[in-house]
Assembly symmetry: D3
Homo-oligomer: 173 residues x 6
């Protein structure tokens, strides 16, 4: 029995890892979907799909079951989103999410969804973590060690700080 | 002489029907365009194109002239929007709209546009109707009976309520 | 109980109409999907979606059940095609097709498919009809009268003849 | 040695022209990229790419070096934006920008970026100029004479005023 | 009075230049559209839009009227192609082409088209020129000198030779 | 030091596995890109990206280095293909390929490419394997055992046989 857990993982943090460990106790194999895979270089989505593939793969290396880490590009069309996800991933029977839209889409497609009180909290940590990177406050203790390594290797903190300066009124690009 | 009337019809309501009846008195055939056809499952665009095709077709069944109900997907490019509409619909000579952008685009393309004081009011009813569905207040008396049937058949009220819970800060999907 | 029948309808001809009449005896409502809706102005797909909407609507006017005529744009991705079709059309329970790919896609999605010996034959007539238009041989007796009217109104025969001259080695456009 | 300067140029104004003249002193040839080329007919992006090509070409006619004016359509994907720009333009060695995102993207791709105190100011003038057009205040003295000609030839002021009336809550289009 | 001449210009050769000179005698300004701008690195379309912008701009430098060189990305939809071209270019009154599809599309849009016996011949030279590059036969005497320079600067001959080896049965990319 | 090896893997077979083992001896980590990820349900590309992710992941489970298996959707634009690949994958220093186009694209982007006599042969086996599936000849001995399992779990052989019947002249879908 395979489970599916999707997040944007910008970045992958301890809340996500905790979630993965909980799900791992309920399923035989786990598919981790990296959402909005085409987005990067914004304050809300600083990291590329490739950087996130590396973060997640390394962070879950010690989880005992087979895991698949799959980037999922946005299609901008809710009505085909579930089909799109299913075509990009090994077949799964249960989807884990607390996002009401995701829950609704899977339910309309006849896929069982499980929720967890954990989801909401780690969501908030995503925004918080990016704020901490921008303002040079501690974020390293809130993510798996492997994630610190990836962010340092790719110059991620410099990137998010630079982008945060962008004046959206700006006439260029 | 064929006329064209476009709306997102989320959902199709009595204001729209009234409009259709007024236009029907001025034209031989009427093309009803369902705008933003690819959008669904959001609070602003809860219903799929297919659900809206069904609503509109059934609601105008008693109108005496030939009507065409055509979903129009967004192209995200204003400069080719009129050509796109024209390629998806039977040829028409007059477009009915009160939307300043739509009016401008048709005028630049040399298509005659007619306005009506009715348009503005029913617009407001679109937002109002969706709010009423979310908060379980009467909406059924503001739409044609056939539309009530379609929304009940497709579980539309449950859908819009569920989606309205979505926290847009959420890290998933 | 609603049925779904899809074709490119380039143009809609007597074989298609015959099919529609057969299906109409088995269902309560019928959805007619116009495939490859974005394609036009080629020898294989000479007519726009709007022209085909007009052909089909007029040709089936005398069929006794409620029919919906819906253009379906290509998504170039087989794995989400069924979801795309379902989002653009009123919900249906049975799909009618003899195309092996269409059959397979619907079957994998759990939709019942019915076939008919008629399908294959009228397919051949599509190519044949376009050839006849190009070479000025009789095609008018093979399509419903309403279709002759639409093709004449839109200058369809001149268009397909002109396009057939296009040298595909050509350096322009 | 070729330089690259990108802007949305909605419209091209004296600040931009001043910038071009400064850059022209540092390079042998200059590529002027017209950003968001597919956008038009909005209050933020009123002019089409073609109108902007005309504005810019005529405004820089007296600049002494060879200039290329190239519309660049958005790809909605920051990670491939530099490659996209490079494929659409003659090869350049230096990019001129004060936009932090643009700077970051070019730097990650190994392209030298130069900044100038001028950039920021003219940015602000873009929004200001469009406001002046909408409210019938003097804008003609802030743009090159050739740009006044283009905007008058294309009815640009009427367009932006009409579009500014659009109620974004509107149910149509 | 402005004219429009479109080609893929893979590469721009003496036949094209001759055409431009003929048209220049009939119009006040000339817009040169570079078709299939997004295509490159194939045997049929070896050069990027940017490389072709450079070829064309330099080759027509001595033509006496104002010229605009504008890359046009494909939209894969014939029915909106004319609108797309018009949005990307300064407004023009006459289109020059011998391609039957292009002629038909402009005519249906109400744009005057002029043909010339020259067009057909230079078309053939496009394929011929690329063959000569691949097989190391003289091509330099068939293109303007500026084009030789651009192709040498960008390593164009090596590129087309390498790509010509591609086995299309290949499992990669 | 990370390496990159891309294929369509329709399906992943012993030639691919052999390749992976050879590369594994030269690099610290290996990124396996699944090309044309959006394609499926055709005779040339029968399997979805998700099915191929499962095949490849299971087939390389015993390889001793860290491997990443990443689906890569086509962008239909050669000039940004390398950037697209790089944004979807962990950073790599060497690309392995025998495909002339892939080699050329990486070389123009400054990425080192290594070739191997193995590549060509296994390419041929891709077509051969699909033919064997269609005509019920032995294919199971030419792919890793894990791949046999995946193809059986997903009904892959029935799918490819069914699709192979598709008459491409067909008027539907």
């Amino acid at each position: 029995m395979r489970g599916f857990y999707i997040g944007r993982f910008q970045p992958f943090h301890d809340g996500h890892l905790h979630m993965v460990e909980e799900i791992a106790a309920e399923v035989d194999e786990l598919v981790l979907g990296i959402g909005s895979a085409g987005d990067s270089h914004t304050t809300r989505n600083p990291f590329t799909a490739g950087e996130r593939v590396m973060m997640v793969t390394k962070a879950v290396e010690d989880v005992d079951i087979t895991t698949y880490v799959v980037p999922i590009e946005d299609l901008e069309r809710n009505s085909v989103w579930v089909s799109h996800v299913q075509s990009m991933t090994p077949a799964f029977r249960i989807a884990y999410s607390n996002n009401p839209l995701v829950i609704r889409l899977f339910e309309e497609a006849g896929v069982e969804v499980r929720q967890s009180p954990m989801f909401r909290r780690d969501v908030l940590e995503g925004t918080e973590l990016r704020e901490r990177m921008i303002h040079d406050r501690d974020w390293q203790t809130l993510v798996p060690e492997a994630v610190v390594g990836v962010i340092e290797e790719t110059g991620g903190v410099n990137r998010i700080r630079r982008i945060a300066e962008t004046d959206t009124n700006d006439d260029s690009a």
